[in-house]
Symmetry: C2
Subunit: 616 residues, 2 copies
């Protein structure tokens, strides 16, 4: 286990150890600071060890990150060599170094051999097999692997829809009133796939050992600030920030801001409809090929504007959520996701809802949906894959030129110091947020309205396939290797997708109720029609919730495995307790009892023990 703290501390030639994590310090850091930091890190490392055979590289890197993050000041009042960087007992050293700009970044190194193998089996050859999820997990950790697993699952789940969509398109079945069957299919589909994903995800997480993972205590996030106080849980001195103040910021600033943004988005939507009307009137006056093209222009412009708005809003949301000063990263993430989801949903789908349920114009809905979907896919692929690729190429060329000056031509492998330099300059991967968000919106297009434009599923499938390749490429060649994060599921996104599927039930039922076919059936009474639509919709929602309740989230055989594991550790504990008792050592292993809680506590062994394991 090793950490390179500065380029100077790395011996560029034959290094005995496998480098795992790089911490880049500012170029002007004092030698005193470096010496202190090294001594503090080594303080913890009683004896080195190599965990390669036991833990995956990604796990080792995660553990090192955890250990660095929990490196705390003892009695230092400031960082040696930097009087302005104040410390107090219990303050995370790395966080202070980062916030003061002394520590520029910490990142894990790529392993070239493994990366080559992984990228070859992943995206470098065109193939019909599945993604190598286990290898992805081994290299990048569970969070990444689950994202790619979900992407793959989602693509396969779309296949039936795409297959039905193609004949609809080819044989021109889509005369806007045959969509009832398709809407009904949508309805069942979007409920079922989400339920089964939960089981898939549980199987993956079980295989990777994260399924019954306990959350470790969360540290305050780096940006969190406040006056010094006492943590009610640990009793440690740390910054505290009154919850009331945060709530005020959320409800008096953030909520009105989001509402304002929604209003702006609505306003722009209205401008789009004006443009649409104008284009239509021009085309109606004197129809030529060019006026036909003109019909698509407003939608394209609107789609581009939507993407730009989403982008700007994203930054604003990040700024606002940062300003709300959440103590925990998870709370920050929840508030950010909620803000972004609400706006993106509204921004992308408001016009479609308006066309469908206020204007009742199915032809326009179809055209608008197609333009929005295609334009946003093109824009996304460009922003996500080609742009970073091109930037990276330029950087790589510059770098290679520099490197080639120094090394002889027959040396195939870059010296370690050059690899570190090269990777330090690569872009930082910002997590799976944007990737999931894109999938969420695609899921929305497909589940909400694809019955009027069955080709949507086909487009999304094609998009997803290229997405797998471009994302894989990005992960392997464009970005710095990210720290792995152990995850048991896709977290808040499962909830987001489920909320979307509920909305899809309501939307599809309304679309069915509005279809000419159904209307013809209820010719005499509009009231009857609406009543039955609502009744059917309620029944479907009820069935959906009952289904979600009945289908176990974890497959049976895994439930049994988990129960067996628990049973065995219980039996083992019983035996040990007996053993200890006979040895006459009264370790208080059995029930603990406090005044407040008579519970026979659970004693946890956490990830932290993993560190020690690595040490001895």
């Amino acid at each position: 286990m090793s950490k390179m703290l500065q380029e100077s501390s790395v011996d560029g030639s034959g290094s005995r150890f496998t480098p795992l994590v790089v911490a880049e310090l500012a170029p002007d850091t004092n030698q005193e600071t470096i010496a202190w930091l090294l001594s503090r890190i080594r303080d913890r490392q009683q004896n080195g060890g190599d965990g390669d055979s036991f833990l995956s590289m990604a796990e080792c890197q995660h553990i090192i990150k955890h250990e660095l993050d929990t490196l705390r000041a003892k009695d230092e009042t400031h960082v040696p060599g930097h009087d302005s960087a104040k410390l107090y007992p219990g303050k995370s050293i790395v966080r202070r170094l980062q916030s003061k700009g002394i520590l520029i970044q910490i990142f894990p190194l790529h392993e070239n051999e493994e990366l080559k193998r992984l990228s070859f089996s992943w995206y470098k050859r065109v193939k019909l097999s599945l993604q190598p999820l286990d290898e992805i997990r081994h290299y990048y950790g569970e969070g990444q692997a689950l994202y790619f697993g979900f992407l793959e699952y989602f693509t396969f789940a779309l296949m039936p829809m795409a297959l039905i969509g193609v004949p609809y398109y080819l044989f021109d079945w889509e005369d806007y009133d045959k969509y009832v069957i398709f809407a009904a299919f949508n309805l069942v589909w979007c409920t079922v796939i989400l339920e089964f994903w939960k089981r898939c995800s549980a199987s993956l997480a079980y295989r990777w050992g994260t399924l019954s993972r306990k959350k470790a205590f969360e540290e305050p996030r780096p940006g969190f600030h406040g006056v010094l106080g006492f943590n009610p849980v640990t009793g440690r001195e740390e910054p505290v920030y009154p919850n009331v103040k945060r709530q005020l910021r959320v409800y008096l600033v953030s909520v009105p801001f989001v509402l304002l943004c929604l209003y702006v988005s609505l306003y722009i939507m209205m401008i789009y409809f004006l443009m649409e009307g104008w284009a239509l009137s021009v085309h109606a006056e004197e129809p030529t090929f060019w006026t036909e093209v003109l019909l698509y222009i407003p939608s394209i412009i609107y789609a581009v504007v939507i993407e730009i708005l989403n982008l700007i809003y994203r930054y604003a949301a990040e700024f606002l959520t940062e300003w709300e000063n959440h103590r925990l990263e998870s709370s920050y993430q929840n508030h950010l996701v909620l803000k972004v989801l609400v706006f993106n949903f509204f921004n992308c789908f408001a016009s479609l809802f308006y066309i469908a349920f206020v204007m009742h114009d199915m032809a326009l809905l179809r055209q608008s949906l197609a333009t929005l979907l295609i334009t946003s896919q093109i824009l996304n692929q460009f922003m996500e894959a080609f742009l970073p690729y091109w930037l990276q190429r330029r950087r790589n060329k510059k770098m290679t030129r520099k490197v080639q000056k120094r090394k002889t031509l027959d040396e195939k492998q870059l010296p370690l110091i050059e690899q570190v330099r090269l990777e330090a300059d690569m872009s930082t991967y910002l997590g799976t947020f944007d990737d999931y968000l894109e999938l969420f919106l695609l899921f929305g297009y497909v589940s909400l309205f694809s019955c009027v434009y069955p080709l949507a599923a086909v487009l999304v499938v094609l998009n997803n396939i290229t997405e797998v390749y471009s994302d894989a490429f990005k992960m392997c060649s464009v970005f710095k290797r990210p720290f792995s994060d152990p995850a048991a599921n896709i977290g808040v996104w499962q909830l987001a997708f489920e909320a979307m599927s509920v909305i899809a039930v309501v939307t599809n039922c309304s679309l069915i109720g509005m279809s000419p076919q159904v209307k013809a059936y209820f010719q005499d009474s509009d009231q009857q029609l609406i009543f039955w639509t609502v009744a059917v919709e309620h029944t479907l929602l009820a069935v959906k919730f009952i289904l979600a309740f009945l289908i176990p989230d974890v497959p049976k055989h895994i439930q049994i495995q988990l129960a067996r594991l628990e049973y065995e550790s219980l039996e083992a504990l019983k035996k040990r307790t007996l053993f200890i008792r006979t040895e006459n050592q009264s370790l208080s292993l059995s029930a603990e009892k406090t005044d407040q809680d008579k519970e026979y506590h659970t004693i946890y062994t956490f990830c932290e023990d993993g560190i020690r394991l690595l040490h001895h």
Copy 2:
């Protein structure tokens, strides 16, 4: 700690120990069997001890029950003295004895002194204070205490509605079109109280130490049968029953049976409407006082029939669920609760829904609701309190006469043997199922339709108050003391009440939409009216789910306490791990690793350790 295995083994005079649990064996049991059973029980008891100061009596009794239930055969092939009672290694001895009728019953003894204190502070004096929940919990365990806590909470939650209901009744505001405000109030009310009950329940469970209780491994229920096979979890030999067979029984027999019962209930409802129509026509022909009374007769008869149907169905449901042969008690309970809830809901509310939404007759709805509610309350109180009380009195008298023959008159305290005999004859308390079911139906009457009959809340409050007293009386004087069951919440009933509150939102929205006031507002378009009703209803449902999501189930201060507890035990474990390491004992306390699961396991100490604690 002691168990009395037969009356003969109890020395009637000055017994040194406090008797806790009674196990009644069949009168013709062989001495050989008794000797063997005693030796097997004593086998486990290495040394006696008294846990009074540490655990409550209810907890001690629970532990004895658990220990008896997990007393397993080693190499016995049959119960000594009963060749027909086969045993195999790992078979629960007590279950076999029970199934063969050798062991008639096991029950904990009342403690007369404590019972007197408890019943005095609970129901023997009329008072305005709250119920002594902590004392109830101490005597009967958490499951009972939570039921009484919920009953009390529910009564208080109904107070605002009752208070609004009284002026509605007094000033005759209830002209069937002013009920909009009341319906809107209902809507908010039933969502809010359930959310806050969760917090209350968490507070109580935290105080009693059951909040973060882990479920112990469930044993197969006594009635479960099947061919001998291997348990996939424990690897022990035990009866197994293929799940497919059980599913077939559920879907091919139970579900059709329930549907048939629903059909019968529907048929009877139709007969009720015929009777109702006939009474109405008689009254219309020649209105006298007697025809006025006649108007109420069909409803009363119908209410009685409903109660009878519920009772018969209840036995049928128990028989069917028993026949489905569920392996676990929890699975049996879930299937039983689902069957009973569906039928009871339909049976009690179908006629009201029909009157409200098909006949649109608000006057009849009101009359029907009132009659149903009052009749069922009277019947319930009679069946639940007076009948067992009267039976008990008769039994007691007989007993006392017998006892008095033997003992001298100045002896106030019954000898232990007489107390055991007396209590063995008392009825067995069958759990909180029926009590919760009754509350569930009352909650339904109030939340679904009370806007048309605001006095309903008042009636339910009155009923609940008498219910507290009659239930308390039953628990203390009519029934054998039940074994305590540690519970953290009201379990499946929370879900049932929440489902009812969702239905209440739909119902109240429809009632509002149908009210003359609202109809007058949308005079020109029925379509608009329905559309807005549905839109408002969907919004309310969405708000309801968001609220349920936002309000934390566990109050903040308890969350902090739990986190602190976890943190402290983690810190303690760290220290101990270090200590053990320095002592050079490589107890594998740190992370365990199996092939299947890389997780750093949690090591549990269960309730079972409590038994050992009691022993040494």
